[in-house]
């Protein structure tokens, strides 16, 4: 297969979430989100989304993946390398 894909369902879900957030933050989501006229904590909504919320959601995906990968690897090593 020229482009092997992951089979782990959690990893697939994380990849899909990351892609979804990317599309929401940049195109096409950003086009619609900048039309939201709302003030939150003194910030215009779009500014809060671009500067704070959007990046934070991606970091959360990375954090979940990192913690999960390290734990899986320790369990796998303890089991003698078997998955």
């Amino acid at each position: 297969m020229p482009f092997p894909t992951p089979t782990d369902p959690v990893r697939i879900a994380l990849n899909g979430t990351l892609l979804g957030l990317f599309l929401l933050y940049f195109l096409p989501g950003g086009i619609y989100l900048q039309r939201v006229e709302l003030q939150v904590f003194g910030w215009p909504f779009f500014a809060l989304w671009v500067v704070v919320i959007g990046p934070a959601l991606a970091l959360l995906v990375f954090l979940v993946n990192s913690v999960r990968n390290v734990r899986r690897d320790v369990r796998r090593d303890a089991a003698g390398g078997e998955t």
Partner: protein, 512 residues
């Protein structure tokens, strides 16, 4: 508040002495004995030092000076194209590629990006192309750091230290501890500088908004009343349209990890678990830093909108805070630049030694290759310092162009290698790298040539590399051998914990 140049100079002098002392202490405690020791500290860097050295190497003059000017001129659109793209796109390179690069490097002894592509595609020519291209990419980025250093020192000393003299002093300090201690000295100093720069930019920026700016609500009120263009796409100058944001972000932020000094920081960790945590750590630190940078813009718009935006943070701290506090912020700005400069110089030294002299003179012993690395580092420092005296108008452009060139040279080649894909061919890899790199170089550096369709020029280089790499692989034959693809896949499948244990045993029981 009254600015006291004597106090500022004293604080900065103490900072410089601490940096020099720390770098030399790292050398004295553990002098490098081999090339791998000089270039990678024997792959033994702890997670704490490693995280902050990686962060400090990434965040440079741009985060204190360049990005402030960029966000002031181009608004939220630029923030999306810079920080948003860093978190999502560079973060994704750490997420999808980082752990694989570490494992393969650990098993096969890789240090530089050229090592990886030369090994997988069995192509010395590809290794040379990538090495030379990455050196070319780093030089203007390195020059930017010395330009920034000179500006900061001149401002922070009330003009008593001219720009050129300031840059020369910093170049000398960096040169001394990097020459002696290599990666270990650079990483130890980076750790101090990483803490300083993150504290300086994140806390420094947010404090400005609240203490002198009246808070975010007041700042955004001013923006909405008088600078509303900064809060919309494409921004007040109409440059960062959605297509430009996407193509700038993709080209530039796919390329950061391929800079030699950043790539080497994937390999220097003692434990692969640290590499697994790089995506969120690097994203978090960059986010905090840029939150501070954006906050500086908000405060600057309120308080000193007519000043040069690149100098907002220093001007406001000099104006509104005691000199000691201002000098600490200036030291943090210097930390950002010095950490990147030392890492970049050392990275150039590594490429020259590892990718050029080791391959052209394989019979030389380690001592000679370490000397080559040291000499190349010093030449890089002197050269970049010299270029910085020519002056530069906009700090950002060179850093972005450098990263885009990196992606244009190796992004598809490295991705295919670390995923063990069997279909890419050596010819296609070389052709894609050369054509992609040249395209980016021409579109970003030759005056008078416009990038087609209004897209960021570096994007065309990356896209051309991918297209030539994929199409060329279907019309040529020399794919990696089955032994190679199986060996690489096996390396990626190994347990990180097991690899860590194997490395610890190597350190406890070194070969005779």
């Amino acid at each position: 508040m009254a600015f006291d140049a004597t106090v500022s100079i004293a604080v900065l002098s103490v900072y410089m002495l601490v940096v020099l002392g720390l770098g030399l202490a790292a050398w004295r405690l553990n002098p490098p004995e081999t090339v791998e020791d000089y270039l990678l500290a024997n792959r033994g860097i702890s997670w704490f030092v490693g995280f902050f050295s990686t962060a400090a190497s990434q965040y440079s003059a741009l985060i204190f000076l360049g990005f402030v000017g960029f966000y002031f001129n181009f608004g939220l659109a630029a923030f999306m194209a810079i920080l948003g793209a860093y978190v999502y796109i560079t973060g994704s390179t750490y997420y999808f590629l980082g752990p694989r690069i570490w494992k393969i490097g650990r098993k096969r002894g890789h240090i530089t990006p050229s090592d990886t592509v030369r090994d997988y595609y069995d192509s010395p020519l590809l290794g040379y192309v990538v090495a030379i291209g990455l050196i070319l990419a780093l030089i203007p980025y390195l020059q930017v750091q010395f330009t920034g250093v000179g500006i900061v020192l001149s401002l922070a000393t009330g003009g008593q230290v001219p720009i050129v003299v300031g840059a020369a002093i910093v170049a000398a300090i960096i040169g001394v501890y990097t020459w002696f201690g290599g990666m270990r000295s650079v990483a130890w100093v980076d750790t101090l500088q990483g803490v300083m720069l993150l504290g300086g930019t994140a806390i420094g920026g947010i404090v400005l908004v609240f203490v002198v700016g009246g808070g975010y609500e007041a700042a955004y009120g001013e923006l909405l009343a008088n600078y509303s263009g900064l809060l919309a796409i494409p921004g007040p100058r109409g440059v960062f349209t959605w297509p430009y944001i996407m193509t700038f972000g993709i080209a530039v932020f796919l390329g950061w990890i391929f800079h030699p000094h950043m790539w080497m920081r994937l390999h220097y960790f003692k434990s692969g678990r640290a590499v697994e945590n790089l995506p969120w750590f690097m994203g978090l630190t960059n986010w905090l830093g840029n939150l501070g940078t954006w906050s500086v813009v908000l405060a600057g718009v309120l308080l000193i909108p007519q000043a040069a935006p690149d100098q907002f943070i220093l001007l406001m701290y000099r104006e509104f805070f005691p000199t000691v506090v201002f000098a600490l912020i200036a030291a943090a700005a210097l930390a950002a630049m010095m950490s990147s400069a030392s890492s970049q110089c050392h990275g150039i030294g590594a490429v020259v030694s590892r990718d050029l002299s080791s391959k052209l003179r394989p019979r030389w012993n380690d001592d000679r290759h370490v000397i080559v690395a040291r000499l190349a580092t010093v030449v890089a420092i002197v050269g970049a310092f010299g270029l910085s005296t020519l002056g530069i108008e906009f700090l950002l452009t060179s850093g972005a162009a450098a990263a885009a060139l990196g992606a244009s040279l190796v992004f598809p080649q490295v991705t295919a290698a670390v995923y063990g894909w069997e279909w890419p061919t050596t010819e296609a890899a070389i052709a894609g790298s050369v054509l992609g790199g040249l395209t980016t170089l021409v579109l970003l550096t030759v005056p008078g040539i416009e990038s087609p369709l209004g897209l960021y020029g570096g994007f065309w280089g990356v896209a051309l590399n991918v297209a030539v790499f994929v199409i060329g692989s279907y019309v040529t034959d020399s794919t990696p051998t089955r032994a190679t693809t199986e060996a690489w896949s096996a390396a990626v499948d190994e347990s990180t914990t097991a690899l860590d244990r194997e490395h610890r045993r190597r350190d406890e029981f070194p070969a005779d």
